[in-house]
């Protein structure tokens, strides 16, 4: 047995550090912003500024895709206004379902410029003549590209359109609406939704809280509070008796696929802020039971993926993608899935199971601190609903404060019959 040791020194431009806990410091001098926070951390030699517009694709008017087009316009406008040399950095902006997030990152000495870039997103987009109009082409290219690259977006869209009985709000009609995208709607969207009172700011990374506070006050101090936009999609709920099934056939698919969507109305709740611990622990338990039955104990399923979305008003949307191995029929798989879900809580949830799920969430939270992008995603998660950001260490406290009964109640509610929509998609050569 030979052992050799690699000892070499690398002199690179940046230096990493160790993993630590982070606190969330709310800022009071924030102009008209909905909220602003500093999350100091020495883990990485960088500063990140996340500007979160609390509106996203669910807030699209007709046509679908307007929030996305607005994101493009605001990002390029901010870059051109502040930098005048856009080639120096990457714009990192993403339109999510309920929010639009602009992330500006750099070394600690860049913090003022990063905040100015973020601030410029709130100004009415100002772009060279013809550029804004032609950005519609880019959004069309991007949407077509993503549609081709991820066929599940399309399947899920069909399932949600059938679930909600609409082409707007939590469902969308992105591809069909592409030709209708227009600047007028985008600028209107910007005016309504990029209002300071609909925006949360998070400064995280290697920065002194006092310095960050002073800069936020200076750069965002001139923003005025205004009326927050309406969120009609929050009131849009499907008929609880709905059991919709659609069959399609397509050569876009690699496997026969069952696409399932379910809506759960926690009608006795008006906010999900105090349900986060129960949500994460219960969804982990249910997911584990589901995967055990459908994947680990059944080799006819190629892969299974469950996605959980808990809205700020405590509506829950569960989607499941079931990809089948050759020879497993769509109808049999559909029956199997339906039966599995119905019987998921036949065995009562045990204390050990809850503790394991809690532990799994703790491990996942700790992992989020090991990579800057994962950490930013963690902060952005509940902040996108207009709640204060949760750091991994705060999340662990929330998990520990969640009672077993909260978890059991949540899981039982999810499993009760309610509106569902299923697409049985057959793969064609």
């Amino acid at each position: 047995m030979r052992a050799v040791v690699l000892v070499f020194s690398l002199v690179f431009l940046v230096f990493a550090g160790t993993v630590r806990a982070q606190s969330v410091i709310p800022l009071s001098e924030k102009g008209g912003l909905y909220a602003a926070y500093v999350v100091p951390s020495d883990d990485f030699d960088r500063v990140d500024v996340q500007l979160i517009v609390l509106s996203g694709a669910y807030d699209d008017p007709e046509p679908s895709g307007t929030a996305h087009l607005t994101e493009h316009l605001a990002a390029f406008s901010a870059d051109a206004t502040i930098l005048r040399k856009p080639r120096e950095r990457d714009i990192y902006a993403t339109t999510h379902n309920v929010s639009t997030v602009y992330t500006n990152s750099g070394v600690p000495s860049d913090i003022e410029m990063l905040l100015q870039l973020s601030r410029a997103v709130l100004d009415t987009p100002s772009l060279p003549a013809g550029f804004a109009e032609s950005e519609i082409d880019i959004v069309q290219r991007e949407t077509q590209l993503r549609e081709r690259q991820s066929p599940l977006r399309w399947l899920r869209r069909i399932a949600l359109q059938n679930l909600y009985g609409t082409l707007r709000g939590r469902a969308n009609n992105t591809i069909e609406d592409l030709s209708k995208l227009n600047l007028e709607k985008a600028y209107q969207f910007h005016e309504t939704h990029y209002a300071p009172s609909n925006v949360t700011l998070i400064v995280s990374g290697k920065t002194e809280p006092d310095k960050a506070e002073e800069l936020v006050a200076r750069i965002f101090g001139d923003t005025e509070p205004s009326e927050a936009p309406q969120k009609p999609w929050l009131d849009h709920k499907p008929d609880p008796e709905l059991r919709f099934v659609e069959r399609i056939r397509s050569d876009k698919l690699a496997h026969d696929t069952v696409q399932f969507a379910k809506f759960v109305d926690f009608e006795d709740r008006s906010t999900s802020i105090d349900m986060q611990g129960a949500f994460f622990i219960a969804s982990d338990i249910l997911k584990e039971r589901l995967y055990k039955a459908l994947y680990y104990q059944d080799e006819r399923v190629f892969s299974v993926d469950a996605d959980w979305f808990l809205a700020k008003n405590a509506d829950l949307e569960l989607t499941i993608d079931l990809h089948l191995m050759p020879g497993f029929s769509l109808d049999a798989a559909h029956s199997h899935l339906t039966e599995t879900l119905a019987n998921l809580l036949n065995e009562p949830i045990t204390r050990d199971e809850i503790n394991q799920a809690r532990q799994a969430q703790v491990v996942s939270a700790r992992n989020a601190t090991r990579r800057p992008v994962a950490f930013l995603s963690f902060l952005e998660n509940v902040a996108s609903d207009g709640f204060p950001p949760i750091t991994p260490s705060v999340f662990v406290e929330i998990l520990n404060d969640t009672t077993d009964q909260d978890v059991i109640d949540f899981a039982e509610k999810v499993i009760k019959p309610s509106a569902t929509s299923v697409v049985l998609a057959e793969k064609a050569e």
Partner: protein, 462 residues
């Protein structure tokens, strides 16, 4: 290469052995000699990792897929005492991750976990490797995962390049090649690479490697066949054909244009220099392709370049854009002009420096935070293991590269674009006769790219 051949002769065996406990005939992938063990600089984000490397006896697509699926089944499909679900749960609770990768001659398993649980991770790994019990159904599913995604369906540049990389590294099996039953065991590796910094973990690693079985039985596989592959006497040249591969989809409104070339470099400085130039052309929002094709022509969302390192001084270079089908000839021509312009030395120094800084940061970040990444670089440099001082010249280039020289030598560092293969997937007109003059293959539906890569390669070799 002589050293490599000698070592393979001396130490490697791939044999069939009987597992007495289960009376299951399984193929043992192992060496009779001692594993070469290296301890690399630890990661900096609280993660430890161990990579075990086994030889690939026959670098064919079918054999490599079987080995990958076998290893994946061993580490996930269950043991004599734990179900597959219990294993997955344990990994989740501890933050353990497994990565399975292959190069032409090596099969690699990397296990990573937070430092505090890494000692028990090694015990768990030992159990997985020594007591695997997985079903035929589990293996069949893992085998499905290893099938490359048909890039004509997804049209992602990375999927296209994945098919191209597989073409470069592996040949199809001969018709009479033996097909195993999917039962594998993984014993003594040829290399073990640890990044931990914890002496207890180092001791446990040595113990684990020592415990892994070595072949006991006779050498049963035909020697010449696999030894030839191991020693590289049948090594394929690292080249792609030129010409055009065209998958026509008349229903599509988009067209993926992708140029690709397999390139070997004289030294590491040339490799990094070419990498920076390719990045200057198409990586990130500071690139020429982004500036011209997206921002000026408004023709593509994500025009890009890729530089995929395939081994020591070897890489795949690619330029690509997905564009509106009716405009593809115009954008194709523009990509050519951008490339030619940079190749002829029209380079803005500030932009080149920005790209170099970005590449430098990416190397640093990946080396210290991404499991398997640093080990991959080590294996490129030391495919047969290190003995004594270890140096990775590629990293040193970041301190010595002169960007002015890189810009000045762009004509030598960037290969002529006519030497690239052009892959077109989507709608729009067929390529012109002029474009087809260096070779043309129309790809049938639901067919892997390899079909056309073989057609064009065979035409060139006539």
């Amino acid at each position: 290469m002589q050293t490599l051949k000698g070592r393979f002769f001396a130490t490697l065996f791939v044999v069939l052995s009987l597992l007495s406990a289960q009376q299951v005939r399984a193929e043992l992938i192992a060496t009779t000699g001692d594993a070469n063990i290296a301890f690399l600089t630890p990661l900096k984000n609280g993660i430890s990792e161990l990579t075990l490397v086994w030889p690939i006896d026959r670098p064919t697509t079918e054999r490599v897929a079987a080995l990958r699926a076998g290893l994946a089944s061993v580490v996930s499909g269950g043991t004599s005492s734990r179900s597959s679900h219990k294993i997955a749960k344990y990994k989740q609770l501890k933050g353990i991750r497994h990565y399975i990768e292959t190069s032409r001659h090596n099969l690699m398993l990397t296990v990573s976990a937070p430092n505090e649980v890494f000692p028990e991770t090694l015990v768990h790994l030992e159990n997985l490797l020594l007591e695997p019990e997985y079903s035929d159904g589990w293996y069949a599913r893992e085998l499905q995962y290893t099938n490359p995604i048909k890039s004509t369906r997804t049209r992602r540049p990375e999927h296209v390049l994945n098919e191209v990389a597989k073409f470069l590294e592996y040949e199809p099996d001969e018709a009479e090649a033996e097909v195993g039953d999917g039962k594998f065991r993984f014993g003594q590796p040829i290399q073990a690479i640890l990044r931990s910094g914890d002496e207890e973990v180092e001791r446990r690693t040595l113990r684990l490697v020592n415990k892994l079985p070595r072949p006991k039985g006779k050498w049963e596989l035909p020697f010449a066949k696999w030894a030839e592959a191991l020693m590289g006497t049948n090594e394929e040249a690292f080249t792609l054909p030129t010409g055009v591969i065209h998958f026509a989809d008349p229903d599509s409104t988009e067209m993926l244009i992708l140029f690709v070339k397999a390139e070997e470099f004289a030294d590491e400085a040339d490799q990094v220099g070419t990498n920076v130039l390719v990045d200057y052309i198409g990586a990130n929002q500071g690139s020429e392709m982004f500036r011209i094709i997206r921002q000026e022509m408004r023709a593509a969302y994500d025009p890009r370049s890729d530089f995929v390192v395939m081994g020591k001084k070897k890489a795949i270079i690619s330029l690509s854009a997905t564009v509106e089908a009716v405009r593809w000839p115009e954008i194709h021509q523009k990509i050519r002009e951008i490339y030619q312009s940079v190749r002829s030395g029209k380079i803005e120094q500030e932009g080149l420096e920005l790209q170099f800084g970005q590449l430098d940061r990416t190397y640093y970040r990946d080396f210290f935070t991404e499991p398997a990444w640093g080990t991959r670089q080590y294996l490129h440099e030391y495919p047969e293991g290190a003995d004594g001082t270890i140096e990775i010249p590629l990293f040193g280039v970041f301190q010595t590269l002169l960007l002015e020289e890189t810009a000045k030598n762009s004509n030598e560092l960037l290969p002529p674009l006519d030497d690239f293969l052009l892959i077109l997937i989507g709608g729009g007109n067929s390529p012109s006769d002029t474009m087809q003059s260096k070779g043309y293959c129309s790809l049938p539906k639901s067919t892997p790219l390899r079909y056309c890569l073989d057609v064009l390669s065979n035409a060139e070799s006539l």
